[in-house]
């Protein structure tokens, strides 16, 4: 860094050097000098509302707010003088004028910044003897409550909702002692219900409907789990008491998501305690599903499977987009080695094999992997988004894109058939006809003729869901796709995000486009669920082994055959749709469904279904489970330890937070069934399975130390061409929104009871 970009100053007698433009409060933090603050929050605009951060600066007549003053050359600062101490005490006393001091019942008690500051910097007494102004608490939504007397008016909630979320649902009303936070819809909120305002509140003024008055923070154990909903892979810190999850938040900013969580990661955990959750195995007896013991259920499965094997019947296996990597890996082993079939698939929502195949030819050009971690969006110079709708379907990625736009000057290019909300941060937004995204990409890649497009003007259509949003900045401009192309071609080191609109050859065109752009282009393919990407990596495909190696590639297959000491089938099997068709024709003798609901996507006539032996393991009696012969109650991700791979390809470790007495993990069930079928998979120990994955699945030789430390590791399974039968019609995104998420979403009270659910149903406004 050149000398003129550094600033030298003295804080409490210590000489320090920091980059120019650093705020004084950050300079203090850099050398571990604590300056108490309430309204200051890193990466939000400065507010200077609370006056807690006053410090002495030589040559300045009055105390200064350290949160607003940028460092200057030669500045001499004191944070530990009698004047500063007195200022802090007085400010603290003022903040407590009307504060109810109901810490013994307040949710925040024990983790409250006001409590901590008062203990450390306050006087412990107050001179006001007037009665305190009391106001009743207000419920603004099923998940957001506001206790006005506790509010210290730091504006953090207002700023995180506006600047961070781009929702602008909170404001400040009135003046002076009557000031109060206001929700956007008069007496309630109409917003994304993310709860970011609650997490960021330094006191107990904003509290969560899910958690309030349930427990005290020190009575819970706090477990870092990976969110089981969308594919973004946020870490949600689960507060657990007596093996039940009581709270989800991420106030410690651990994980790839920093402080971010959406409504699902924060409140959605309640599906684990839903009354309809399966507690025991069920078996179809006289046409009805009846509770049976685990031993009975598992033995029935093994007995029937053996009989079918002896008769030469065909098997099919459908894996899960939420099961952990270890479980998906062992599931495909069970299919291939024990059941002897490649008829295995999962609900595909991103055409990753085609992406990796297309990248295989290009990866030699760059040294860094052509995949982008979620965090890279925060600093990217340019992002191209084709299809998808991150705001509602990949909330963390949207948060990061907005972050980049706000703090790093990221130029965002959006190519879409709808004026999605992220156009508000777009540098250019091209709207094409629905389904024309692929053609537009080909045009941008120089492979095809012009496509009708218009560069979007600000359209209110989408935001009808909320009262109003302020106009985006900058205003998108008019023009055609040529203009978009010309602008895009000026960029380098672009991160490209693409939705399920692009599949098959469209993705090849996208990679060609990326190849034409300067620098290292990196890609993120949007996949629906918490381990959709992992399911693909772990080989839940009829023609691909783990790591995208072909089942008919003798060398690759041979490696796994040697590892497991068994012959594996070399012929590609049936995909999910083909398995459904085979079931309908009575040509599939057995189907084993693990954490999936395939009959919802590919319905099969129930009468024809009865001719097959259907085993389903899941948390709830899904449409598919209702038709099963045996139903096995499984565990939720929050009840398991292992790894998941997010939509970007980042592997992360998740830890068991809660328990569900009746259930078993998919891993335990798969191992038990393998043993009953005469194959020993060893102890169902996720660490051992992950060790095997690291050693044998391309791209997964990631650092366990990094994972154990709570960080993510990018798995890059690029290994030459991927000989995959691309099946574009099988790429089917659920388009889950903030308020839905496949089966699990249906069983979370929290995400179903917010009123926005009605405004934002999947498929609506699309």
């Amino acid at each position: 860094m050149p000398e003129n970009n550094s600033v030298h100053l003295t804080i409490d007698g210590r000489a320090i050097t920091v980059p120019a433009g650093t705020l004084l409060i950050e300079a203090c933090r850099a050398v571990n000098i604590e300056v108490p603050c309430f309204c200051y929050y890193p990466n939000l605009s400065v507010q200077a509302a609370c006056r807690m951060c006053l410090v002495e600066i030589e040559k300045m007549p009055k105390l200064q707010t350290a949160c607003t003053v940028p460092v200057a050359e030669g500045m001499v600062v004191r944070t530990d003088t009698p004047t500063v101490h007195k200022a802090r005490k007085t400010t603290n006393e003022f903040l407590l004028t009307n504060h109810p001091l109901d810490c013994p019942v307040c949710d925040k008690g024990g983790e409250c910044e006001l409590q901590d500051m008062t203990l450390t910097y306050g006087t412990g007494t107050g001179r006001f003897d007037e009665p305190k102004r009391h106001r009743d608490e207000q419920q603004w939504s099923p998940v957001v409550f506001y206790d006005r007397p506790r509010c210290i008016l730091c504006y953090r909630c207002v700023r995180v909702c506006g600047e961070g979320m781009d929702v602008w649902a909170l404001g400040v009303g009135n003046r002076a002692i009557l000031s109060t936070i206001l929700p956007n819809a008069g007496d309630h909120l109409e917003c994304e219900e993310c709860g970011m305002c609650i997490d960021i509140c330094p006191v107990g003024a904003l509290t969560s409907g899910a958690y309030r008055y349930k427990t005290r923070p020190w009575e819970m154990k706090h477990v870092g789990a990976i969110c089981t909903f969308c594919g973004d892979g946020c870490r949600t810190t689960l507060g657990v008491r007596n093996d039940r999850i009581i709270r989800g938040d991420n106030r410690d900013a651990s994980g790839i998501n920093g402080e971010f969580l959406c409504i699902k990661g924060r409140y959605g955990f309640d599906f684990t305690q839903h009354a309809e959750r399966l507690k025991t195995p069920l078996a179809r007896i006289d046409g009805e599903l009846k509770p049976v013991s685990w031993a009975q259920a598992l033995e029935t499965v093994a007995r029937r499977w053996r009989a079918i094997q002896q008769q030469g019947g065909r098997f099919g296996v459908i894996g899960s987009t939420r099961a952990l990597n270890e479980e998906s890996y062992q599931l495909q082993r069970l299919a291939r080695q024990v059941l002897g079939t490649n008829n295995i698939d999962h609900h595909r929502s991103a055409d990753l094999p085609t992406l990796y195949d297309a990248l295989a030819g290009t990866s030699a050009t760059g040294s860094a992997p052509p995949l982008a971690a979620a965090a890279s969006l925060k600093t990217a110079s340019a992002v191209l988004l084709v299809g998808g709708d991150p705001t509602y379907e990949h909330p963390l990625l949207a948060w990061n894109v907005r972050w980049g736009y706000r703090l790093s000057g990221t130029r965002l290019y959006v190519l879409h058939h709808r004026e999605i909300k992220l156009r508000r941060q777009a540098h250019r937004m091209a709207v094409v006809a629905e389904g024309a995204e692929g053609a537009a990409v080909r045009y941008l890649a120089g492979q095809g003729g012009a496509v009708a497009a218009r560069l979007s003007a600000v359209g209110p259509a989408e935001e009808k869901r909320y009262p109003q949003l302020p106009p985006p900045d900058p205003q998108p401009i008019s023009g055609g796709l040529e203009e978009f192309k010309a602008e895009l071609e000026k960029e380098s080191n672009v991160v490209i995000i693409f939705g399920s609109e692009l599949r098959g050859d469209d993705i090849r065109a996208l990679v060609a486009l990326g190849g034409r752009l300067a620098g290292q282009t990196r890609y993120i393919g949007l996949a629906d669920h918490s381990n959709s990407h992992g399911a693909a990596d772990m080989g839940l495909y009829p023609d691909l082994l783990p790591g995208y190696e072909s089942v008919s590639d003798a060398a690759a297959r041979g490696r796994f055959e040697a590892l497991w000491g068994a012959r594996l089938p070399a012929e590609a099997g049936l995909n999910q749709r083909e398995m459904a068709e085979a079931l309908d024709r009575g040509e599939l003798a057995a189907l084993y469904v693990v954490g999936a609901n395939p009959l919802r996507l590919d319905p099969v006539n129930p009468a024809n279904l009865r001719r097959s032996f259907l085993v389903v393991q899941d948390l709830f009696l899904t449409e598919t489970a209702k038709e099963a012969d045996i139903v096995l109650p499984a565990l939720a991700a929050y009840e398991k330890t292992g790894t998941l791979t997010n939509t970007c390809g980042e592997v992360q470790a998740t830890r068991r937070a809660a328990a569900w007495p009746g259930g078993k993990s998919d891993l335990e069930i798969i191992h038990a069934l393998a043993r009953l079928m005469g194959v020993d998979f060893g102890r169902p120990d996720p660490d051992r399975v992950f060790a095997e994955i690291r050693a044998h699945v391309k791209g997964y030789n990631v650092s366990v130390v990094q994972l154990a430390a709570g960080r993510s590791a990018l798995a890059v399974p690029l290994n030459g061409a991927v000989p995959h039968r691309s099946a574009p019609h099988l790429i089917r995104s659920n388009h889950d929104t903030l308020f839905s998420d496949g089966t699990l979403g249906r069983y979370s009270h929290a995400i179903n009871e917010v009123m926005e659910k009605r405004l934002l149903l999947p498929g609506q406004a699309r």
Binding site: W168, A169, G171, G173, N174, L182, N184, P467, Q468, P470
Partner: protein
């Protein structure tokens, strides 16, 4: 469709373009709107928010900051009696009580016929001629109960 008269509509359009930052026009626009409508109706708030590209919430924040801006109807003649220090010392409080009684507004703020409403306000800048009251934008000063009756009677006549 604007909720405002064509004249005001044109004026607000000019105002919205008059400042380097559009939102700077907010307070003047609110005042003109309130003058025409008597109070800031939800429709007026929505329209002004739209004209300036602000959220309704942002407009409501501003309105709630200023006590002169109101979101509830008042009478055609809005009587604002000052009880701040100078007026208080010279009988402002008694003046307020007297006016309330005379207008029959002891328990409510607006007369049933909507002609008068009353509000206790802070200093209106007429301290030298305290006690003072203001009806809409007109000042009436050096008041005692008898003179106040006269003032109110004049407005009653106009109504």
């Amino acid at each position: 469709m604007s909720v405002f008269s064509p004249t005001l509509d044109a004026k607000l359009t000019r105002l919205a373009e008059a400042y380097p930052q559009r939102r700077s026009a907010l307070v003047p626009m609110l005042l003109y709107a309130q003058d025409e409508l008597g109070w800031l109706t939800p429709e007026a708030i929505r329209e002004i928010a739209e004209r300036l590209g602000e959220t309704e919430l942002a407009v409501r924040e501003t309105i709630s900051y200023y006590s002169m801006l109101r979101t509830h109807p008042v009478g055609r003649y809005h009587v604002q009696v000052c009880t701040n220090i100078s007026c208080l010392l010279r009988g402002g409080e008694e003046l307020l009580q007297h006016c309330r009684k005379r207008l029959g507004l002891e328990q409510r703020d607006v007369t049933p016929d909507g002609v008068f409403s009353i509000e206790e306000v802070e200093c209106i800048g007429a301290c030298s001629w305290a006690p003072a009251l203001q009806v809409n934008y007109d000042f009436h000063q050096n008041l005692d109960p008898a003179r106040a009756d006269q003032v109110l009677a004049e407005y009653r006549q106009k109504a």
